[in-house]
């Protein structure tokens, strides 16, 4: 597939520089641009959550014969991909390039909070809809007010933090855990923001934070952290962590025998590689995200993801990313390629996606999965802001 998109890009570049071909047979394809990290700090996350879903979606739409336009014609889609090297300056330039040089019809929103926020002004200026599937921020009201073209689909920082508090508070109320929380966070924007948001929420919910430390991104040995957390004798362990340290913290906790009844790590807990690496020990682990793996749509999505891309989808933002593409797809089928109309349509309509029905309220999906848990080999949603299908939380029993 990589080769094919590369060829397609080369071909389209060559063609546009020589002449613009008309519709020799059938309708012209609709051109999509995509810019996200293929290298740099966030490349690995994008390789799991972002790029495979674009590949899957393009494959499925074209296999179906293309998008079914209002006038009854079918239009295939093609995609132009750029690597922003996890550098927001590059993201901005690539969006400009896609719009003014490649003249694409639509642009898939970039990957991660930072790159989406950085690109928001240029999306707005150029009038392209930006359905951000991988941005989490408390600035949603401010950003949506400023940029009419941006849509959020993964929820806010506070929602993520307070959901964790709710889950733990419920366990406490049921007498499953005590009130001692050990909390650590990665000292980068995301971790700091979540730690900051969750501290008062935990205290308000009647918890005592008995251990509270941060560690720099890229720390090679997290054992002092885990030892410290263990020494504080907690009932629950909460880590606002990033992928590499989510893996390292879990491994270290297992080695140290950090036995808590509620064990939470943030980003990457939902990665299939997490379950793959730790096998049965992940049973009962809580983490950010989760999906309802029981719906027929979700089952079909997971199967197709595996079949087309050769790797499993993650249990959080993967399906959201795919759903964000479905939003574009359904809007274009409904109103055509007029971008202004598409933005209008996205903000007003309800969409049938793999995540269930989606309706943007003030340019943001307010019903999202916030906490998931590994149960019987899958990472299922256990808490959300109003979605059906949450499973009851189970208590973690040793490693």
């Amino acid at each position: 597939m990589k080769r094919r998109t590369a060829l397609k890009v080369a071909a389209s570049a060559a063609l546009t520089s020589v002449l613009t071909i008309g519709s020799a047979y059938g309708a012209e394809p609709i051109r999509f641009g995509a810019v996200a990290p293929k290298t740099g700090a966030l490349a690995a996350g994008a390789a799991i959550t972002h790029w495979p879903n674009i590949q899957l979606w393009v494959h499925q739409v074209n296999e179906r014969g293309g998008l079914r336009m209002k006038d009854g014609s079918r239009r295939k889609v093609e995609i132009i991909e750029y690597d922003d090297r996890t550098n927001p300056g590059e993201t901005i330039k690539a969006v400009e390039r896609l719009a003014t040089q490649d003249k694409v019809d639509f642009i898939v929103a970039p990957y991660s909070t930072g790159l989406n926020v950085a690109a928001a002004p240029v999306f707005a200026k150029l009038g392209y809809p930006q359905v951000a599937a991988t941005a989490i921020t408390d600035k949603i009201p401010e950003l949506t007010q400023r940029y009419p073209s941006i849509f959020f689909a993964l929820g806010s920082t506070t929602a993520l933090a307070s959901s964790v508090a709710d889950v733990l508070a419920k366990m406490k109320a049921e007498g499953k855990i005590g009130n001692r929380i050990a909390m650590v966070n990665v000292a980068d924007a995301f971790g700091i923001e979540l730690a900051e948001a969750s501290r008062p929420i935990f205290v308000k919910a009647g918890f005592e934070i008995v251990f509270n430390r941060s560690y720099p991104l890229g720390t090679q040995d997290l054992s002092p952290i885990v030892k410290g957390a263990k020494a504080s004798n907690p009932d629950a362990f909460v880590a606002w962590s990033y992928p590499p340290d989510t893996f390292a913290l879990t491994e270290q906790s297992k080695i140290e025998g950090l036995n808590v009844k509620a064990y939470y790590t943030a980003v990457a807990t939902a990665f299939p590689a997490y379950g793959g690496k730790f096998g049965k020990s992940v049973e009962g682990h809580l983490g950010a995200g989760g999906v309802n793996t029981d719906t027929a749509e979700m089952k079909a999505y997971f199967a197709a993801h595996q079949k087309v891309t050769g790797k499993p989808a993650d249990y959080w933002a993967s399906a959201v990313t795919y759903a964000s593409l479905q939003v574009l797809e359904q809007s274009i089928e409904a109103v055509g390629t007029d971008r202004k109309a598409v933005i209008e349509h996205i903000s007003k309509s309800t969409f049938q996606t793999v995540m269930g029905p989606w309706k943007f309220v003030n340019q943001s999906i307010d019903k999202v999965w916030t906490v998931g848990q590994w149960q019987g080999g899958v990472f299922h949603g256990v808490a959300s802001t109003g979605l059906p299908g949450a499973k009851p939380v189970i208590v973690k029993t040793g490693w």
């Binding site: 132009i80 991909e81 930072g114 600035k139 980068d188 995301f190 700091i192």
Partner: protein
């Protein structure tokens, strides 16, 4: 002012006036390329002001740039933006002064490695402070500043760099630096305080990098340590300046323009192998143009002159 200088001055003013008209084309892509070129021109030229005469290779650009960006992120909403840019310049200058005092007596590779580590050190401290004291919920710089304003600001800054570079070259400081560059021992015997001279230039380049960071912050919108303190920036500045040539004030400019365009062409034409090709391009520059474009031009000119005089 000689007639020749007057002519050059007029040419420069006209060139800047023409460049300032770029946003009027209303071509977003050209403008974003223009922003990049202007940014690297300021960074590379101010870098060369210090590194050209002293032969010190500083990889600290990202540190000062990041400090500038963070000044804006921390102060936006409490202070007016122009004040923040000035403050960022000041912060860059202070940081450069501290670093310079501590490290300019190091020689060669130690200075290079130290400045490379500096961006990391500053980044760690900033993150730690942010985590424990300010408790900020992410650093957003949401302003109404548009791309074209950023472009004009950078252009003005570029004019300032060239002006300062020109003044320095004509001043006692510039003369002293040329002697230091040729032979530091001779300079010391002449009673030149070489440490102070180097420090002065390092502070100037730090101040400019800080201001560039401040000006670019609204464009980044979301300030993260990994984004603000990226070492890639430091290396790009060095390679652009060296590609152009550091012994003429306009040398780095000759490197910045082709390099930015080359980088852009690679990113646009080979989206799946961008990094591989960027690396190869980088290597080709190091191997094939060691003395910079300006060095090439000048040696070609010299050769031509020799031929003429022999004839």
């Amino acid at each position: 002012m000689t007639a020749r200088e007057t002519r050059t001055l007029i040419l420069v003013v006209v060139a800047f006036a023409l460049l300032a008209c770029l946003p009027l084309l209303r071509h977003g892509y050209l403008l974003s390329l223009g922003v990049d070129i202007a940014m690297y021109t300021v960074l590379a030229t101010s870098w060369a002001l210090f590194s050209g005469p002293t032969h010190y290779i500083s990889l600290a650009t990202a540190a000062f740039y990041g400090i500038g960006a963070y000044v804006v992120a921390a102060g936006i909403g409490t202070l007016p933006y122009p004040a923040l840019v000035a403050l960022a310049g000041l912060a860059g200058a202070v940081a450069a002064a501290l670093v310079g005092l501590a490290t300019l007596r190091l020689s060669g590779v130690y200075f290079v490695i130290f400045t490379l580590g500096l961006a990391e050190l500053v980044r760690q401290i900033v993150t730690w402070v942010q985590n424990n004291f300010t408790g900020s919920r992410g650093m957003y710089v949401l302003t109404s500043i548009t791309e074209r304003m950023i472009y004009w600001e950078l252009l003005a800054l570029a004019a300032a760099v060239f002006f300062i570079g020109w003044r320095v070259a004509r001043s006692r400081l510039g003369f002293a630096l040329r002697i230091i560059g040729n032979d530091e021992t001779v300079a010391a015997h002449l009673g030149i305080n070489s440490a102070a001279c180097k420090l002065a230039l390092f502070v100037i380049s730090g101040a400019f990098a800080g201001m560039v960071g401040a000006i670019m912050a609204p464009r980044l919108s979301y300030i993260e340590p990994s984004i603000a303190f990226t070492s890639e920036l430091s290396f790009q500045v060095v390679i652009m300046a060296l590609l152009g040539g550091v012994h003429r004030l306009w040398g780095p400019l000759v490197g910045v323009i082709p390099f930015t365009i080359l980088w852009e062409v690679i990113a646009a034409r080979f989206p799946t192998q961008t990094v591989l090709l960027l690396g190869i391009a980088f290597l080709l520059i190091v191997y094939l143009i060691p003395n910079g474009v300006v060095g090439r031009i000048e040696s070609a000119l010299r050769a031509a002159q020799r031929r003429v005089s022999h004839a």
